[in-house]
Symmetry: C2
DNA sequence: ACATATAATGTGCACGTACACATTGATATA
DNA sequence: TATATCAATGTGTACGTGCACATTATATGT
């Protein structure tokens, strides 16, 4: 049983109200009395009862999530699942989640949604900063309004974010390289194929490729494999044919796709019965079937659901329980393959 | 703002007490009234206010953990870390953790500690059932006393446990086989070396080995590798020499140690500068250095800290928030290697 | 019809906190 | 001396729930 305000008051020979004023530093207490009460608080290690506190405050918090729009089976569905799950678990604490979806290909859309978001006056904001410049503006605004915000997936160093939840892209690429290397085993050529669905410069992709190349640069030159890099834009017609052409003509032993769109390559490998080892990212539905059948050899997961869950949970911790929040949260790089696929789903 | 019992009562034209009886299924309510109230509860999606609930109950719960004794750096330190972390996070909810450590090699010790545990009259029990027969007796007792209990690490199917948190040992072995297979790549011999620190039959070890063998049985006979099995008892003097002898004489390309004691093999490989690929289990401190240096190629992790955290958290959920608890919780089989080691630590 | 048992329903209190409001005591001013 | 001022302290209420206890309605037996 913890000490209560009542006990403190009895020990100090004052009323509940006086203790209350000291605890909340509301003033109107004689210095002598205040010191006496503070001392007793210290000695007894008083901690407010969170139930009574929660009951009497009974505030309703709203967390806004500024996340890319998605179709079923896309990557961004997964962080949303985690966000939803956390929101549901914590709904009894009167903390709610509100989405503001934007089109990844349209920076204006991000800007517009930012404004709508700000007008809703949330108690916290979760941002997926895929559109850098506009996000920077939003962060400044939030900072000014003293609304705490978190990044998910990737972060913007120069802002005063409360927390970041994501992965280390460079290391992800390095790990992919190691896996490919163990698969093709000293013979053959390797392709890096980026399949982008927007024309923008993408930090995450870039860093993964850097990490991938770094791994091979560090190897003995004897073990080095030939690497070729390709970039395909899904907005261009016939991108599918082009991809097929590359896969068939280059006589590659292994392919690395540094994004969740690796299933496109898997489909072609399956259809054309090519003998190519394949490594990609993310455990999305469209990839799962190819992992199960062994066409995708390895996928590197980044626990997107957990990312979503943590992002929301951090606001609960911060706003409701008043706990400190870890600022940078790097989640493990999960290696997923046929044999351990089941327990990651 | 969520609906309250008061509102439900007003809508149903009854008193608070009647609604309360329906919610807690305490009987003494006319069927007609009960149905009416149930319908309203359903419609409004009533959820009890956790603060008010906690305030009025304000019980102090004690969870007992019956876990093997350990030295620093041993496997069982890790679930304890998770348990402690959960206990600390949830301390404000008046739920405490009390350990009862036993000696793995001494079934009598388990029995004795079981009795001490029962006398402490806990509100929930977490059991690591490494001593099967004695655990069975304890479970029956707990069942009779209506004290809920959970298993961690491995489970006993025939008991009425509240939840289990652990891994799929068979699949763990299968995954290890796949990794070894990709490492030695169609040439050479593979050894399975069990290093036991107690003389007892160990279910987990057995199942991992079964899974390991199963993987190779399923391969085309052309790709099959020669496999030899060894078992070493650490209680026998000179076990270290024997191990060294095996590693040096058998001309193996790969070794699988189906437990956390893989670091013993790693040490010998390092000292004797052998060229043997090595796969084992668990991310304990003694293994980490060998993963970092690449002597252990892969380790399969089972998130022991998370196991501990979940085990405790499940009791919080069950006893305090009244939520339903998932009965079987299989954690992912993490593949840990030099390149992704950092983010698993 | 009446007493009595029992089923059904209602009432009141406690939990610990936050905050609005009320009261007390001391000092200064007319 | 009476009164206004203001600092210091005290009191009361609400939050929503769980449970003990009180009350009312209905059925049963004589």
């Amino acid at each position: 049983m913890n000490t209560t305000i009542k006990e403190i008051a009895r020990k100090a020979n004052v009323s509940l109200g006086t203790v209350d004023r000291v605890i909340h530093d509301r003033g109107k207490v004689a210095k002598k009395t205040k010191d006496k009460i503070l001392k007793i608080l210290e000695e007894t290690g008083y901690k407010p009862n969170i139930y009574a506190r929660g009951l009497v405050l009974n505030k309703s918090y709203t967390i806004a999530a500024l996340i890319p729009d998605y179709n079923k089976g896309d990557y961004w569905e997964l962080p949303s699942l985690g966000l939803n799950s956390a929101a549901q678990h914590l709904s009894q604490y009167n903390i709610k989640l509100e989405y503001f979806h934007f089109d990844q290909n349209n920076p204006d859309c991000f800007k517009e949604k930012s404004h709508v978001l700000l007008r809703s006056n949330p108690d916290g904001v979760i941002i997926a900063p895929v559109v850098n410049f506009e996000a920077s503006y939003l962060c400044k605004k939030l900072n000014h309004l003293k609304i705490p915000f978190s990044f998910i997936d990737s972060k913007m160093e120069e802002t005063e974010y409360m927390s970041f939840i994501g992965q280390d892209s460079f290391q992800s690429g390095k790990l992919a390289a190691k896996l490919i290397n163990s698969l093709v085993y000293e013979k053959g050529k390797i392709l890096i194929i980026s399949i982008r669905n927007n024309s923008e410069f993408n930090k995450t992709l870039q860093k993964r490729i850097e990490g991938f190349n770094y791994f091979f640069e560090e190897l003995d030159s004897a073990q080095k494999l030939e690497i070729e890099e390709f970039s395909i834009d899904q907005n261009i017609s016939n991108w599918d044919k082009e991809l097929k052409e590359i896969l068939k003509s280059r006589n590659a032993s292994g392919v690395y796709v540094p994004s969740s769109t690796v299933y496109h390559v898997a489909r072609i490998i399956e259809d054309s019965q090519l003998k190519i080892k394949l490594v990609g990212n993310d455990l999305i539905k469209k990839n799962i079937q190819y992992i199960a059948s062994g066409i995708i050899d390895y996928v590197i997961g980044q626990r997107p659901e957990q990312q979503g869950y943590l992002a929301f949970d951090n606001f609960y911790k911060y706003l409701i329980t008043g706990q400190k929040v870890t600022r940078d949260n790097y989640l493990p790089l999960d290696i997923v393959t046929k044999e351990n696929l089941y327990y990651y789903k």
